[in-house]
Amino acid sequence: MAPIRVRAVGLSKTFRGPDGGPVPVLDGVDAEVGAGEFVAVAGPSGCGKSTLLNLLGLLEPPDRGEVWLGDVCVSQLSRRAQCPVRGRSIGYVFQSFLLISSLTALDNVLLAARYVGRARSEALPAARALMERLGVAHRAGHYPSQLSGGEQQRVAYCRAVLNAPPLVLADEPTGNLDEGHAAVILSELRGLCRDRGASVILVTHRADAAALADRTLSLRAGRLEPRGGGTT
């Protein structure tokens, strides 16, 4: 097996419900994903798939458990120390794109470079090349509200991979797309693993998307179950 890129150890998360009572979402999740591996996470709505991705991506802290990137326990790092990890080592593709409405498509892509200290002039050719490959270069000067859903997702994808992160987390990236645009994004994610050795964790409801993965992790009632011969 390829070296372990990301490891979750006993991850638990509980949210507070509308009545103030606890709503447990994840309960002691253990998982490992190797370098260059494409892993799908499946499960019914509300089972904690997005929360798992958020914890792995340091977007929120676990109540219990640890997240390791390589041989570093990143969940234990200080808030400040986690920032460069998020910026350089993790790329996110969100279901709702999460583009910044006040920035053009190109500036949204370049935003990823700004916070890791890359000069705009240095990142610009890479950003343009990515947008060209994804077929949105002609929309570089447009604002998100002027783009279609498929274009927005492709711009969001460009932003996620601009810094060539070793780990890409994609939360239902095709949920709002038609078949054609979904295929483009899935093909790109697959290509990241194959061509660059990046690890991709994909949360999806689509069977065709999950079928592209090396293995699928099934999440149910806050715990991972082995599925399709994959390992947890």
Binding site: N54, G57, L58, L59, E60, P61, R79, R80, C83, P84, V85, R86, G87, R88, Y92, S96, L98, I100, S101, S102, L103, L111, A112, R114, Y115, V116, Y143, R159
Partner: protein, 399 residues
């Protein structure tokens, strides 16, 4: 400039800027009204502290200012010899409209007769500022220099003729600039002309002269005198010395008169304080609320940026830059808005000789600095609240 602003300011900040502009406009407008009142009170204070006013022993209300008493020439000469006196200027001060409704009110218009050859006695107001035309010259007769309010209410210009009672008309040779105090309502004429006016309107004086009242001459026709003191002399001490050494005179002690004026304007001072506090609270609350709301409205964007690796410091720097750009541009628009409102309102009331607003440079500078500081503080507060949230929580809240 527009390019820089476009880079600094995200889109959709127009309403934030306008919100700040409205708050700052309110602050500046209230501040300008407060400045106007302050200048009025301070101007009066400076005027009375700049000279010792002496009048003949009086006949009741208005002694020394408006023909209430007679200060004869020999008394003026005695005053000039009191040690510490630098100069004495004989004056005739008459109410333009001697009705009780206007008598000694703050808006009273006065005829002031002075001798242009005598040195200006007021140490705080060495020269009255002439806006158009010229001031009185030695040997002038039949001419008048009018204060700014006096001119505005009558739409007077240099070269026009003005009737100052008893059928006598004067040529306007000068219009004073606004001083925001007493001279704005003066009509200043040569001393001899003022004596003529006094004689024409006061039958008692005419009878005194017609009766050949031996020792009386035109030189004795003075309502008072303005006295200036030599350098290093305490004006209050000198005023008491004059009162003691010259009989038959009423001397106002500058320090005491200032205190009396301050007491009589205590209400205005309280009003001024209230307006200032109100302006700061309303303008400040509006501005900080607008900036804070604008930052919180973009909480999702900041969550995304943190997901992309932005540190607390990077976010704070970005938000502060935006907040300062928004606050300062909103502040500048607010200042322009307040100036426009002020000029429109003042243009309307100016015909009544009034001015409601005084936009001093210190007020405008204060408004801009206040906007920047408060905008910065509000943005810092909002940022510190936002960075405490996890990126995912910020994105959820902004969704």
């Amino acid at each position: 400039m527009v390019g820089v602003l476009r880079r600094l300011l995200p889109r959709n900040y127009l309403f934030t800027i306008l919100g700040i502009a409205v708050g700052v406009a309110g602050l500046v407008a209230l501040g300008a009204m407060a400045e106007r009142i302050t200048r009025f009170i301070d101007g009066g204070d400076r005027f009375v502290l700049g000279q010792i006013s002496v009048a003949g022993e009086g006949m009741g209300m208005g002694t020394g200012f408006t023909a209430g008493g007679l200060l004869r020439a020999d008394r003026i000469e005695q005053i000039a010899h009191v040690p510490g006196v630098a100069a004495v200027q004989a004056q005739v001060m008459l109410p333009l409209n001697p009705t009780t409704s206007q008598f000694l009110t703050l808006t009273q218009e006065l005829i002031l007769g002075i001798d242009p050859a005598a040195p200006a006695p007021n140490r705080q107001l060495r020269e009255l500022p002439v806006k158009r035309g010229r001031f009185l010259r030695t040997g002038d007769r039949g001419v008048v220099v009018v204060g700014s309010d006096f001119a505005a209410t009558r739409k007077l210009a240099v070269g026009q003729r003005l009737e100052l009672g008893s059928g006598r008309t004067f040529e306007v040779v000068g219009v004073l600039d606004k001083t925001l105090t007493a001279p704005d309502r003066f009509a200043i004429v040569p001393l001899e002309d003022a004596r003529d006016l006094w004689l024409r309107r006061d039958p008692l004086l005419v009878q005194v002269f017609a009766g050949g009242s031996g020792a009386m001459s035109r030189r004795d026709l003075n309502t008072g005198a303005a006295v200036s003191w030599a350098d290093g002399v305490d004006p209050d001490d000198l005023a008491r010395r004059i009162q003691k050494s010259v009989s038959g005179v009423n001397v106002t002690i500058p320090g005491e008169l200032s205190r009396v004026l301050r007491q009589s304007t205590a209400f205005f001072s309280a009003l001024l304080f209230g307006i200032g506090v109100l302006g700061l609270v309303i303008g400040g609350a509006s501005l900080s609320n607008t900036v804070t709301a604008a930052v919180f409205e973009r909480i999702r964007d900041f969550g995304i940026k943190r997901a992309l690796g932005a540190t607390d410091l990077q976010l704070l720097r970005e938000i502060l830059t935006e907040a300062l750009a928004v606050s300062v541009s909103g502040g500048a628009i607010g200042v322009v808005l307040a100036l426009a409102i002020g000029f429109i309102v003042d243009a309307r009331v100016l015909s009544d000789g009034q001015q409601l607003f005084l936009f001093s440079p210190r007020l405008l500078l204060f408004a801009l600095v206040f906007s920047a500081i408060l905008g910065g503080l509000a943005a810092t507060y909002a940022t510190l609240r936002i960075v405490r949230l996890s990126p995912a929580e910020a994105i959820r809240r902004g969704a």
